[in-house]
Subunit: 131 residues, 3 copies
Amino acid sequence: MLKTFHVRTDHHDQMIDVTSQVQDWLGEEGVKDGVVIVSSMHTTAGLTVNENADPDVKTDMLRRFREVYPWDHAEDKHAEGNTAAHMKTSTIGHAQTLIVEDGRLVLGTWQGLYFCEFDGPRNRKFVAKVL
Amino acid sequence: MLKTFHVRTDHHDQMIDVTSQVQDWLGEEGVKDGVVIVSSMHTTAGLTVNENADPDVKTDMLRRFREVYPWDHAEDKHAEGNTAAHMKTSTIGHAQTLIVEDGRLVLGTWQGLYFCEFDGPRNRKFVAKVL
Amino acid sequence: MLKTFHVRTDHHDQMIDVTSQVQDWLGEEGVKDGVVIVSSMHTTAGLTVNENADPDVKTDMLRRFREVYPWDHAEDKHAEGNTAAHMKTSTIGHAQTLIVEDGRLVLGTWQGLYFCEFDGPRNRKFVAKVL
C-alpha cells in the first residue's frame, strides 16, 4: 500500500501542514494500528514534525534555517546553487515515521507533520507506506 | 502495544539517557525481534542517539546547539520566545526508530538513546511502539 | 534478518553512497515490499538521503557542516576533541527508514543513501533490518 501525495509549493521556503491529508488517507484505507512512513522524493525538500498552532513558528524556523545555511555562499561548488536546500533537507530529514493507534496518528497536542520546501516554488511529492 | 514514558526534566536544556527504560520495557513485553519507534509528544523536546560514555559530550552538544540556534533572537516573532527549541527539535528529530534483535536494542558500544529537553524544566512524555 | 555492512572510510569527513549495497542485499534476500531500517553503529558517523548526481553537493555539504560545527572549539570539554562529529551525527541522524516496493528502494530520481563519516578515516559499520 504505497500512496503518493502531490504538493504544490508557492514560495522558495515553505512549511505546509500535511497532517490531515495523511490522516484522511489512513481513514480511507481503514488503518487502525501500525506506523506510517512518509518520505519526500526530493533532495531539497523534506518532512518534519513541529508546531501546528502559531504560524509564526514556521516563519521563524524558515528564517533561522536561512541564517544557519545561507543561500549564497562564495565557496559552494554545486552549479545549481542550492546547496543550502540540500543542507536543510538532511538536517530535518527526508522522511518521518509516525505511529498510528485506533485509527489516529499518535501526535502531541501541538504536533503537526510538515512538508518543507527549501527550493521552491515547485511541484513536489512524497510517498507514504503503512506497516 | 503503545507505551507512554514519562520524563521529568530538571534543566532548560538536558539530554537524559532513556535507553535502559526502553530496553526494560522490551524485556517485560517479551519482544525478541523487530523495531521500536520512540516518539516525543512535544515540539520543543526530541529524541536522538548519541554517546553514552563521557558526560562532557552532552554538555558540549547542548552548548553547541545553543550557539547555532541562540535563544534570544531579535527577529523571532513567536510570542512564546522558544523558537530555538523548535529548531533543535526538528534538527535532531522528534522520533527515532531502533532495531531489536534477540531481545536487545541493536546499538553500537557507545550509542545510547537520549530524550532531549530544549525548553525545560517540564513534565514530558514520549511513546513507544513495537513492530 | 539483520545484516551488517562494513564501510572503510578514507577521509576525515566523507559521504559514501551505499544505495546499491543495500539494494543488492534486498535483491539477494528476495525482499519485495516493506521497509528497511539502516542504522549506523557509531556516534560520529550517520546516514542520510541526499543527492546522488553532482559530487559537488557532497563537497559543499561537508564543508557547510564544518562551518556550522567547527572542529576546534575553545569551550568543548570532551577529551576526544570530536564534539563536532557528534553534532553532525545527531543532525543528520544515525539511522534512516527506507520504503521498498516491487523489490526496489523507493527513492526519488536524485536521492541516494549516504553513509556519512565525520571523524575518519576508520573502519565503520551499519546494520540493516527489513520489516
